[in-house]
């Protein structure tokens, strides 16, 4: 017997289907646009040119290595600072803090996450860079370190709020069982709760990476935008230039269809590929099949 179809039901299903597919279509269109504007760069500029170390596009020097290194240094630096602090903050808020402290801290962290990045960049330029220059006796405070610190400030709220939710979602039975077996509080947190929330915490860290690598305004104002190649450990304290800042500053001045225009889109493709690799790596961790033991226990 065929069930009667309610018109509103099929209408709503149709709308939801369209919006769902449209997300895929939009990403596909963006990818198509990126490729169609960026791939001509490979024909116009000899491929080895991209691996040179000098970026000066108005005189046809198109070496993107300095910016690759710059983005890398600033992102990795931000993560080295943000992941431990973010994770420990999330553990504190979800496992250790009293109820009143938790209710006070969690909205505060969300508030920090709501700051427009331009404001943080501005504060970094006027205040943080001057302090860093005086304290560390650097030639200038506009360096990769300042960029990494502010990016960490942007990534930490993202990491904290999602990790905290993941830790909260771990069933109470896990903690009770561990404590009943004689483990201390910290042993429970580190060896039981955290591994159980592993996929959520990893998602949080991936989100933090995504925010850090894609951040444009902050690095534009605070890293000095000097396309320098790394020179040993001091590189972290030198000015640097990221791919995102390059695209942001130079896209306005390029004539539509010129070589410089295509190279900028090519940099966009490189960024896209990096983001893709990070996300795919994360997904393989997050969506791994549950071990038989975990399926039985939960």
């Amino acid at each position: 017997m065929k069930l009667p179809t309610i018109k509103s039901e099929s209408l709503i299903t149709g709308i939801i289907k369209i919006t769902g597919y449209s997300a895929i279509i939009f990403v596909g269109l963006i990818l198509y646009f990126l490729l169609s504007e960026g791939l001509p760069a490979l024909t116009e500029v000899p491929f080895t040119e991209f691996f040179k170390t000098r970026w000066y596009p108005i005189e046809d020097y198109f070496g993107i290595l300095p910016m690759l290194v710059g983005s890398f240094i600033v992102t990795v630096g931000a993560l080295i600072i943000a992941v431990p602090i973010g994770l420990l903050t999330a553990i504190y808020i979800s496992e250790v803090a009293s109820r009143r402290t938790k209710e006070f801290l969690k909205p505060l962290v969300e508030l920090l996450g709501g700051f427009p990045s331009v404001v943080l960049g501005f504060l970094g330029l006027l205040i943080l860079s001057q302090y860093l220059r005086q304290i560390l006796n650097l030639p200038t405070g506009l360096s990769a370190l300042t960029g990494a610190l502010i990016l960490a400030g942007i990534a930490i709220p993202a990491i904290v709020s999602i990790s905290e939710d993941a830790l909260d979602a771990v069933p109470k039975s896990y903690r009770d069982a561990s404590l009943a077996l004689g483990a201390t509080e910290w042993q429970t947190i580190w060896w039981v709760t955290l591994p159980a929330a592993k996929s959520g915490v990893l998602t949080a860290i991936m989100l933090g990476i995504g925010r850090a690598i894609g951040e444009t305004m902050v690095v534009l104002m605070v890293t000095g935008n000097a396309p320098m190649m790394p020179t040993g450990l001091a590189t972290f304290f030198n000015p640097t230039r990221t791919m995102t800042a390059t695209i942001a500053t130079e896209m306005g001045e390029v004539a539509n269809g010129s070589t410089h225009y295509h190279v900028l889109f090519f940099i966009g493709i490189v960024l896209f590929i990096i983001a893709l690799i990070v996300n795919v790596t994360a997904s393989t961790f997050v969506f791994r099949r549950k071990k038989r033991s975990e399926r039985i226990l939960s």
Partner: protein, 297 residues
């Protein structure tokens, strides 16, 4: 059904209310006679262009000017892409840009609208007062790296510059770094900080005793120290400070013209605007903003 008609009615009312004119609330000027002029380009000239636009709109209320910055390179690119009427540039248009324009069907016409000096600025606590053009070229190309080599304290030199889309940057590259020699291929040293705006340069100059930077004279604030410059290599040269007088009599070596480019010979409202810019009234605004007026036409 009654529900359908109600939503349709609301939708129609919303669409009709969006059609009201915003720029002319009293409806005094008939919509067809409004003249829109789009003016974009040099960040050096953006404050000047804004002041001109405001003054012009007061005396010519049927003109609507929209002014934006983005750098000389951005302005000329917009002119080539046909997204602007007038491009402001603090440097001459390059031959490759002229080729691009012609191949897009646009013949760029140049007008000199004001003159400007590039001031070399350092931190107020810096003891250095004078520099030659050769020294400036060596500093920015990376040959001189410490202030003590040019009579200052033992501090590393931090070079500040505008971004590559800035006409000021290109002018500095050609006239100071390369000393006007066309075949020279010297580039800025890789650790030159390419800062996005004059304000960021100003902030760093004020706070960092190691810094040296350059910018248009109109952007120098009293809390920055200006360096006197000379072009000559002889012994005991006279160092010149930038000002309207030294630009107009040619003694200050790093002076430049500021340009406006149009697509083809300007007609109608654009022609009137550019003619007004050459008038005494507009050139007074030039002086007020710290630039140098062109000599009376």
């Amino acid at each position: 059904m009654i529900t359908n008609h109600k939503y349709l009615f609301i939708l129609i009312i919303l669409i009709l209310s969006a059609c009201a004119s915003r720029t002319d609330p009293e409806g005094l000027i008939p919509p067809d006679s409004k003249e829109y002029i789009n003016n974009t380009g040099s960040d050096t000239m953006v404050n000047l262009a804004l002041a001109w636009a405001e003054q012009y709109q007061q005396i010519n209320p049927q003109s609507i000017l929209s002014v934006s910055g983005g750098g000389s390179g951005t302005g000329i690119a917009s002119l080539i892409n046909k997204t602007t009427d007038i491009a402001n540039a603090s440097r001459k248009i390059k031959s490759i840009e002229i080729d691009n324009a012609l191949s897009n069907g646009i013949e760029p016409i140049e007008f000199v609208v004001a003159r400007d000096a590039i001031a070399i600025v350092v931190n107020p606590n810096n003891p250095v007062d004078n520099l030659t053009l050769q020294q400036l070229s060596d500093i920015y190309s990376g040959k001189i790296n410490n202030w003590k080599e040019i009579g200052g304290e033992d501090r590393p030199i931090v070079r500040l510059s505008r971004e590559t889309n800035s006409g000021t940057h290109v002018y500095f590259l050609e006239q100071v770094l390369r000393l006007g020699v066309k075949e020279d291929k010297t580039l800025f040293s890789t650790n030159t900080l390419l800062l996005p705006s004059s304000e960021v340069i100003g902030a760093e100059i004020r706070n960092n005793p190691n810094a040296i930077g350059y910018d248009g004279l109109g952007y120098v604030t009293p809390d920055m120290k200006v360096i006197a410059v000379t072009a000559s290599q002889e012994e005991g040269p006279e160092f010149i400070y930038p000002s309207a007088e030294t630009v107009n009599d040619g003694t200050y070596p790093i002076a430049r013209d500021l340009y406006m480019y149009t697509a083809g010979q300007p007609k109608g409202s654009i022609k009137e605007y550019i003619e007004w810019i050459h008038s005494l009234e507009a050139q007074l605004i030039v002086t007020q903003l710290g630039f140098v007026p062109i000599n009376a036409p």
